[in-house]
């Protein structure tokens, strides 16, 4: 209808259409709509026997153009499976709230699988999981430790820094001033790894390039994010990317200032039709569908059928790159595509010595390479040479 509004509304409409044609879908929708009590609901889902009840919990609103929306789109994707029934709860803070939300989903709605998607939920999952040994908890980003954590807890995450590395290549080719900008929420390993990979990608094509990083201090501070983007533009930075919950403002500010931007979490091309280069996106649909199918075939965390730690990058399809924007040159596309192919056949390792941090200290010596699955990388607390800023 209207070109302006799309990203998720039509998708949802499409989903409804798909469901309406599938008999199971219709009945499952009806249950959500009409059953006021959960006892009858739990019994009806057990009566039909086959529906796998999956609960999703988000820390913010599920339509934030960012982190939570990416997970919500994964939920919409997995809900397309006819034998899956999903439920969601959004804006659940990382307090007893999330513990109660999990209990309710399990006890009242009969959920057998839970995806509490915020990193800060992990401690709360560890509290709840031992009490429901037959329910499986999959946590986004957490670090499962064999023997230390309950058997029914698993963790998954995507190597989004691979996509950031590619975005860095594109940014490096596009930047005329040799200065890139990164608006970041907090100096934590997940964010730092993205900053470093983005910078390493850019420096792989232009070794003298620098990335200015500004930490706003919190996951969603619109005015600070806009200020950060503006002050970067004032400093002559001409490509900006970010790691905040909702990249919308950074993209729009960059477009207003007439500089380039590179997205995060989801595709933000519509927000910056001129300056959008590419972006690092999640593809949780793949992850959630894989899990659902494993569980459907009888595998569980408890019987060892499902690995406790699931990680994947471009190769596994857990992350992807936004389509290139109009400003991306042919060389940039070519270089990024070559690197992408190398990620897919595992021949490219981002963290390969020698790498110095931005204080000149060698953090990865010559000959040493940390592959993506290396746990050391998940504890990264240094910024690579070329990054302007302190972690």
């Amino acid at each position: 209808m209207n070109p302006g509004r799309s990203l998720y509304l039509p998708r949802r409409r499409v989903m409804r259409g798909v469901l309406a044609t599938a008999a199971f879908g219709v009945t499952s929708r009806l249950w959500t709509g009409c059953t006021p009590t959960s006892e009858s609901q739990a019994s009806s889902s057990t009566a039909s026997g086959k529906l796998l009840q999956i609960g999703f919990i988000y820390v913010g609103p599920k339509d934030d153009y960012g982190y939570n929306q990416a997970h919500h789109e994964g939920e919409v994707g997995v809900a397309k499976l006819s034998w899956v029934k999903t439920e969601e709860q959004a804006s659940v803070p990382e307090t007893t709230d999330v513990e109660e939300a999990m209990r309710n989903m399990i006890e009242q709605d009969g959920a057998k699988v839970l995806f509490p998607t915020s990193f800060g939920y992990f401690e709360h999952i560890l509290t709840i999981a031992p009490k429901y040994p037959d329910v499986q908890f999959f946590h986004c980003g957490g670090l499962y430790q064999e023997g230390k954590h309950p058997k029914n807890v698993g963790s998954y995450f995507g190597y989004i820094d691979e996509a950031q590395y590619l975005a860095g290549i594109v940014a490096g080719h596009t930047s005329k001033t040799g200065k890139l900008g990164f608006v970041a929420a907090k100096p934590i390993p997940q964010v730092i790894r993205n900053i470093n990979s983005f910078t390493l990608g850019a420096r792989s094509v232009k070794p003298e390039i620098t990335t200015q990083v500004i930490f706003t201090g919190d996951w969603s501070l619109p005015v600070k994010e806009a200020e950060a983007a503006n002050s970067m533009a004032d400093q002559g930075i001409d490509v900006i990317t970010c790691h905040v919950d909702s990249p919308k403002i950074v993209m729009e500010t960059a477009e207003k200032r007439g500089i380039f931007c590179s997205g995060y979490h989801a595709d933000q091309a519509k927000l910056a039709p001129k300056g959008y280069l590419t972006g690092a996106e999640w593809d949780w649909t793949t992850v959630y569908t894989n899990y659902a199918e494993m569980i459907h075939s009888g595998k569980t965390l408890m019987n060892g059928g499902i690995p406790h730690i699931v990680r994947g990058g471009l190769k596994a399809g857990y992350v992807k790159l936004s389509p290139y924007g109009p400003a991306v040159s042919a060389t940039a596309k070519k270089d990024a595509d070559i690197a992408k192919a190398k990620f897919k056949d595992n021949s490219l390792v981002i963290y390969q010595g020698e790498i110095k941090d931005n204080t000149g200290k060698v953090v990865i010596p010559v000959g040493k390479a940390y592959k993506q699955q290396d746990r050391t990388l998940e504890q990264m607390n240094w910024l690579v040479a070329g990054v302007v800023g302190n972690a």
Binding site: G4, I214, P222, V223, A226, A228, S231, M232, D234
Partner: protein, 308 residues
């Protein structure tokens, strides 16, 4: 030349530009709150009004493709919320601070509820006036892109000052705020004056919200206000209930938002949480220094905070 970096010069420029960009919401909310408090009531609910204004302006601008209509509707939304606040807080025994906090929850709830479909779309923005064409520096040009709405706010401040000092209506409002008994003896309807003040104040806050979503940062998300509505309430006290000082204080608070990012962009990276809290600490410090039990705060409405 055009893209030359400014280095340390970027800090004052960044703060100046941040001031021009970011102080309008503070200005509108604080002027609205100033009017409300002059009549003797406090409206903490302007935080909710700001969100409601931001949401409705963005929604209307998107639906009708006319940002100025969005500004108008934001003001109307402010009037609606203001009427609720006024009606409730003017009942006997009802505490205006309590109603204000309930209005924050209610206003933000309604704004979030109806704002869901408008997070994704891109709405037309308010135009900017280019005051920087004389400069060859793109940074300066960009810093001097000023929204007409901000200029309107700047114009309202002296007008309101004049209104309080030199008009009969301004005198009435001050009388109602300072000594309701005297006002009552003069035959003034305290209820009507306060009702009008609260509603007009809320209208201004709604317009301030439209600036957030239609100019800077220029988008609708649920975190857009970031507590600016509550902050502006403190700002009025900082400004001693003087509209002109509200203007200066808004510029100061708007600029303070830019301090953290501007310093980081030249490499000062520690203590950004404390930098971010600087406006609050500053206000508190100034209150401590300037308040004294020995004398009355100049300009303070006499009945403020009491249940008269």
């Amino acid at each position: 030349m055009a893209t030359e970096a400014l280095g340390w010069w970027g800090v004052p420029l960044g703060i100046a530009a941040g001031t021009l960009r970011g102080s309008a919401p503070f200005l509108f909310v604080s002027l609205g709150e100033c009017l409300t408090e002059k009549s003797g009531k406090i409206n903490l609910g302007l935080e909710g009004t700001l969100l409601m204004g931001a949401m409705s302006a963005y929604a209307i601008s998107y639906v009708t493709q006319s940002p100025w209509l969005g500004v108008l509707v934001a003001g109307l939304a402010g009037i609606v919320l203001g009427s609720i606040h006024a009606f409730l807080s003017l009942q006997p025994k009802v505490n205006d601070i309590a109603v204000g906090i309930a209005m924050i929850i209610f206003g933000s709830g309604v704004a979030f509820f109806f704002g869901k479909p408008f997070i994704q779309p891109v709405a037309p923005q308010l135009p900017a006036l280019e005051f920087g064409a004389w400069s060859s520096q793109p940074q300066v040009q960009s810093a001097l892109e000023i929204c007409p709405l901000f200029l309107i706010g700047v114009a309202i401040a002296p007008l309101m000052q004049w209104f309080f000092q030199s008009t009969r209506w301004g005198l009435l409002i001050r009388a109602v705020g300072d000594s309701p008994d005297a006002a009552r003896a003069m035959g003034i309807s305290i209820f009507k004056i306060r009702l009008l003040c609260i509603i007009t104040g809320s209208f201004l806050a709604g317009v301030g919200g439209s600036y957030l979503s239609l100019f800077y940062p220029g988008t609708w998300t649920e975190r857009i206000s970031g507590g600016q509505g509550l902050m502006a309430v403190a700002l009025v006290i900082f400004a001693r209930w003087q509209p002109m000082q509200c203007l200066y204080a808004s510029l100061l608070f708007g600029g303070a938002q830019a301090i953290g990012p501007a310093l980081q962009s030249v490499g000062v990276t520690s203590y950004y949480y404390l930098f971010n809290a600087s406006p609050y600490i500053l206000t508190l410090a100034i209150m401590i220094v300037t308040c004294s039990p020995k004398r009355t705060l100049r300009g303070a409405p006499g009945t403020l905070g009491s249940s008269h």
